[in-house]
Symmetry: C2
Subunit: 331 residues, 2 copies
Amino acid sequence: MAKRVTINDVAQAAGVSRQTVTRAINDMGEINEQTKQRVLEACQKLGYRPSRFARNLVVRKKTRAMGYLVASFRNPYFTEIAGDLLNAAAERGWHVVIASTETEEEPNALDMLSGQVDVFIGHFMQNDEDLARASGGIPLVMLERPSSLPGMHSVEVDIREGVREAIQALRAKGARRIGMIDSSYSLRASPTYAPSPRRGYFEELVGGESAGMVVVGEESMAGGGRAFAELVATYPDMDAVLAFNDLMAIGAVQASHALGIEVPRQVKICGFDGLTLGEAVHPTLTTVSIDRHALVSGALDIADALAAADFGVLPSMRRTVRPHMLWRESA
Amino acid sequence: MAKRVTINDVAQAAGVSRQTVTRAINDMGEINEQTKQRVLEACQKLGYRPSRFARNLVVRKKTRAMGYLVASFRNPYFTEIAGDLLNAAAERGWHVVIASTETEEEPNALDMLSGQVDVFIGHFMQNDEDLARASGGIPLVMLERPSSLPGMHSVEVDIREGVREAIQALRAKGARRIGMIDSSYSLRASPTYAPSPRRGYFEELVGGESAGMVVVGEESMAGGGRAFAELVATYPDMDAVLAFNDLMAIGAVQASHALGIEVPRQVKICGFDGLTLGEAVHPTLTTVSIDRHALVSGALDIADALAAADFGVLPSMRRTVRPHMLWRESA
DNA sequence: CTGTTAGCGCTTTCAT
DNA sequence: ATGAAAGCGCTAACAG
């Protein structure tokens, strides 16, 4: 690899000093138009690219960058959040460096980016201690999960309230036997399945005869479809299903076609997340919607607060977002 | 805003030299365990964060960063590519800084990132000259669009071949009157609608009586649905539709339910892109699939070549990806 | 084990 | 209008 072309090379080639080169390339005035042209030509000829590090090191206005870890690009929930985050972050003057934790382990991803960013944001799966270790002291904003350690902040979603509202609404529409599809995502972080908080709240709130009607599936459309089939086969009198998320719920709606089950007449299906995608299925998906805009704003508020404190270690900040029912056709 | 805590402050607080601080925080050995602890405590107490710029400036192994401009987070086509790109880029040791051009103008986005990255990748809409100006001399890899200027490279998709294959396949399945749904996306870059290349190839290849059966719609599910309805109303004998992309095609499939049209018996619907999402609709979507993996690999190959040349201005490099039919149920 | 000396590549004084 | 000097904050290469 050829040695990097620096400002000195350009200066030499143009027969001027480095400062003059700076003036030329940064459009600073106080420079003869001819020399400027000469310098610019030299830049062109040598293929000179200023080092972004050297420049940022010396320049006053600090560029703030956040690292966003995307759990999955296969679930539109995360990509919709990514889109909202990017737009909102740009508005507030943040750069966003993104890494996927789909193929990479969280600690690795954090480690890779720890030299590049001032704060991390993401839906993290690892436990607090591992994250603290891997983040290299960079503050973390956790999405949909409470924080405890200092330097770790969070924007939570009141899942319990969402589950409560969904069950209540399903009941109000006549459902008597409500089943649930849970995600096996916990297997990504630990070797054994652990019930999701959503399942926990479901079992706590649904009460009585429905309590045990839970099936676990892979977190995808196909997984949701299989889980739905299993649920229907196991509990023939089931008349409503709450899915872990919209992706799985959409899979369930798809599966209902194959099984000859009419939705919502025979079985009502309710998702969780509020994806636009829920409009792609037939019937369109009724769901517990999470306000992604509020989630992202909350995270950015925290990031701004951290920036104002020069990214020191601050006590945990917390925000909470309340989900709400989004009525469409499937329930 | 408090003055930044530097390595010097820590050194002073711990009563050691900067070098010793470096050893402590970077786990370098050759340091007394006690001093190390003392230094680490000082870091903790002062809330010291090493400057990523200073560090990167001095460290040999250059971190390479690419800026990826995402045209839309509402079309899974782009987010699927983003996911593939992130994974593949991480594997090859690239950082990816992402900006959305959904709300931001392309030149602005380029400008924002031009100090942060070594190469740009994206589905660009602006003309070459404007891009060259806005990119500040940083090389560009254009996706699905030919490059011409030096310093601008491209990974193209053989759209014509895809359209040809689709028409031929539709014909082979008995279609006689084929319509097309085009996207109005060109309106984003210029004030008047311009036919997309896909439309151009369609009209060139479909021949005869079908040639004029094109309707333009907004690039979304809803837009595809409306366009489909218009197409059906205008050409009652139409028996197949090629959509601009899968998002619009899915909208068309959705609309078919509302219109009481049986797919594929009465009308065959074929999308373009090959989204996983095409499995969410009923019937599942037959489509011309673009190999996103190849697209991304091609772009990264070019990026690596540029990196090897230290991001100098190289003559245009080009790759081409061929699409292929993905048979599902809607055609 | 620890400190000193040199820079990395750039921009900012301040002279001239 | 241009140049010389002085750093930005950090680490590599030597000393000791």
